[in-house]
C-alpha cells in the first residue's frame, strides 16, 4: 500500500465523488421500504461516528450523547411545528441548536475529566429528558408529531430524508477524513495524546477540545433530527434513551475507536446482530455488552485494528495513533 501514498488524497476524493453519485442514484433503484432501513442505518452510523470523533479524535468520552440526539430532534420538530416551515429546509437549525447547547455546557463539564466528564453529560441528558417529560408545551411524555410532513407525498419525504441521511454518512466518512488531516485534526490529535506537549508547542488546549466537542455534538444533533424526521414522531423516553449510548459504544468499540473505517464494520455487525437476534429482547442487548467486554480484553483497537495490524491494510491512510495505542497518553491528573 506504500506505493499508493502520494496519490492517496486523489483516490480519496475520487471515492467521495463516487459515493455521492451512488447515493444520488439509489432512490431510483431501491424501493421505499428499503430506503427507510437505509436511512436508519446511515443515521445510526452517523451517531456512532460522532461519538467516535469525540472519543478517538478529540479525546473526550461522553456517556450522554443521547442528549444531542434528542436536542437535535426536538429543536427541528418544535421549530417546524411552531412556524409551519418545511423541516427539510430548516434542518441545519438542529445542528446550530445542538452545537450551541454543547458550547453552553462545556465551561462546567470540562472541569471534570474522563469518566466523570462522561457521566456529567449523562446527568444533563437526564435533566433535559425529565424537563421535557413534564412540559405539556413540549409534548410531555407522549411526545410530538412532525406536523409539516403530513401533507407531503410519502415518496418525496422518504427520498428527501434519504438524501439527508446519505449526506450524513458521506460526511461521517469523508468529512472525518478531511478534518483529521487538517490543521484542526492535527491539533486535536496532539491535545488528545498529550495536553502538556500540545500546549508547549502553542496549541490552545481548552479551545481545541471545546471546538471538537461542539462540532461532534452538533453533528450528532443533526443526525438525531434526520433519524426522527424519518420516524415522524419524537418522545423524550426514546430520544434521550441511554440505550442510544449502548449502540454507539458497541459500534465504535467493535469496529475500532479512533479509526474512520472501524465504525463502518461496527455498524454492519450491529445491524446483522439486530437482524439475527430480533425478538430476543434483552439477550440481544446482553450480547452487545459482552462483545464490548471481549473486544476490550482481546484487542482494544477493535476489528479494524486487528485487520490493520495483521494485513497492513490502511484504506484512508488518515489514522494517527488513537488514544488506545499511543505509548504516552496524557499523564494522570495528579489530583
Amino acid at each position: 500500500m506504500k506505493g499508493l501514498a502520494p496519490i492517496r488524497p486523489t483516490l480519496v476524493a475520487a471515492a467521495a465523488v463516487l459515493c455521492t453519485g451512488l447515493m444520488i442514484a439509489t432512490p431510483w433503484f431501491v424501493p421505499e421500504g428499503n430506503l427507510r432501513l437505509m436511512i436508519e442505518i446511515f443515521a445510526v452510523f452517523a451517531f456512532a461516528q460522532g461519538w467516535n470523533f469525540l472519543a478517538g479524535y478529540v479525546g473526550i468520552m461522553s456517556f450522554g450523547q443521547q442528549l444531542f440526539i434528542g436536542l437535535g430532534a426536538y429543536s427541528l420538530f418544535l421549530a417546524s411545528n411552531w412556524t409551519g416551515l418545511n423541516p427539510f429546509l430548516i434542518l441545519p437549525l438542529s445542528f446550530v441548536f445542538s452545537a450551541a447547547f454543547a458550547a453552553a455546557i462545556t465551561p462546567f463539564v470540562f472541569r471534570l475529566r474522563d469518566a466523570y466528564l462522561a457521566i456529567s453529560i449523562w446527568v444533563i441528558a437526564e435533566v433535559v429528558r425529565l424537563f421535557i417529560s413534564q412540559r405539556d408545551a413540549l409534548g410531555s411524555v407522549s411526545g410530538l408529531p412532525l406536523v409539516a410532513t403530513r401533507e407531503m407525498a410519502r415518496s418525496v419525504v422518504a427520498t428527501s430524508t434519504f438524501y439527508y441521511a446519505g449526506a450524513l454518512a458521506i460526511v461521517s466518512v469523508f468529512g472525518l477524513y478531511y478534518v483529521s488531516v487538517s490543521r484542526l485534526g492535527l491539533a486535536l490529535a496532539a491535545v488528545r495524546d498529550n495536553e502538556g506537549t500540545a500546549s508547549a508547542i502553542g496549541i490552545n488546549v481548552w479551545w481545541t477540545r471545546f471546538f471538537g466537542f461542539v462540532l461532534g455534538s452538533g453533528f450528532t444533533g443533526l443526525a438525531g433530527a434526520v433519524y426522527y424526521m424519518s420516524v415522524f414522531h419524537v418522545e423524550p423516553g426514546g430520544a434521550f434513551d441511554p440505550n442510544w449510548m449502548v449502540v454507539m459504544l458497541f459500534i465504535v468499540i467493535i469496529g475500532g475507536v479512533g479509526t474512520i473505517e472501524g465504525p463502518i464494520i461496527g455498524t454492519a455487525v450491529y445491524f446483522l446482530f439486530r437482524a439475527w437476534f430480533a425478538g430476543t429482547g434483552n439477550l440481544y442487548l446482553m450480547l452487545l455488552g459482552a462483545a464490548a467486554v471481549l473486544v476490550m480484553l482481546i484487542s482494544p483497537s477493535g476489528i479494524w485494528g486487528i485487520v490493520k495490524s495483521r494485513l497492513g491494510i490502511d484504506l484512508l491512510g488518515a489514522r494517527r495513533a488513537s488514544g488506545l495505542d499511543a505509548p504516552t497518553k496524557k499523564a494522570r491528573t495528579a489530583s
Binding site: A55, M61, F63, P107, F108, V109, R111, L112, D114, A115, Y116, A118, I119, S120, W122, V123, I124, E126, V127, L130, F131, Q134, P242, V246, L249, I253, V257, G281, N282, L283, L285, M286, L288, G289, A290, A291, A292, V293, M296, L297, P300, G323, L324, A326, T328, K329, K330, A331, R332
Partner: protein, 287 residues
Amino acid sequence: MIWVETIVNGLLLGGLYALVGLGLGFAFGVMRIVNVAQGDFIVAAAFLGVFLLPWTPVHPLLVIVPVAIAAFGIGMLLQWLLINRVLGQDQIPQILLTFGLAIVLRNGMVELFGANTRSIDVGELRFMGFDFLGLKLGVLPVLILAIALFLFAALHLWLRRSNMGRLIRATADDHRIVQLSGVNFRSIYAVAMGLAMALSAVAGILLAMRGSFTPYSGADRLLIAFEVVVIGGLGSFWGMFLGGMVLGVTQLVALKLDPASGLMYGHIVFILILIMSPNGLAGAFRR
C-alpha cells in the same frame, strides 16, 4: 414543622446516598478507576439479598453480612479477571469494559427476574417510628444512617491504622513505587475493588429495604453515586458524606414541592454546584 421533618428525613436519606457513593469514591481514590457497572452491581446485590432473605437467621437486617461477603469476592474476581488486564495510562479501555459489563448485568437481571418492582421485606421494622423533639421519625431510616456513619468511620480508621490500610494508601499514592517494597499493586487493587463492591452492596441492600428497585434502577444509582463523589470533591472522604446529605435533602424537599420530579432537582443541584465550585463542596471550604 413539616419542613423540618422533611429536612431531617432528607439528612437520613442523605447518609444512605453517601454510602452509595462511598464504593465508587473509594475505588476512584485508590485506583483512579471508575467502575461504571457499580450501579448495576448495587441492584444485583439487592437481588441477592431478596434471594438470601428466607435463609437469614435472627433478623432480616443481617442479610447484609452474607451479601457483603459475596460482593467482596465478586469485586476481587472482577478486578483480577477483567479490570487488571486493561489497566494502563489510558482510562478508556477500563471505562468501556465496565460499561459493557453494566449492560450485560442489567439485561441479564431483566431476563432472570423480570422488570417488576421489588423491595427487601424487613418486617415491622419498616413501619416502626418514634417521636424525637416533636418530630416523627422512622426507626429504619435512623438505623440506616447509623450503619452508614459506622461504615464511613470504620473504613476511615481501618485505612489509617491497619497494615492493609497502609498498603492501600501507599498504592493510592503511587502504585509503581510500592512495587519496590515487594508489593504487588494488582493484588492491592483486587482487595480495594472487593471492599468498594462490599460497601456498594450494603448500600444496595439498604436502599432496597427503604424503598424499592427494578433491574433498571442501576442507572439512577450510578448517577447518585457519581454526584455524591463529585459534590464531595473527588476522593474527599467526609466531603462525600456532605454530598450525600445535599442530595438527600434536595430530593425530599423537591418531591414535596413537585411530586413528579423524581431525581431531576438532585441533578440540577449537582450541576449548580459544579458551576459554582468545580472542586465540589469540600473544595469550596478548603479554599
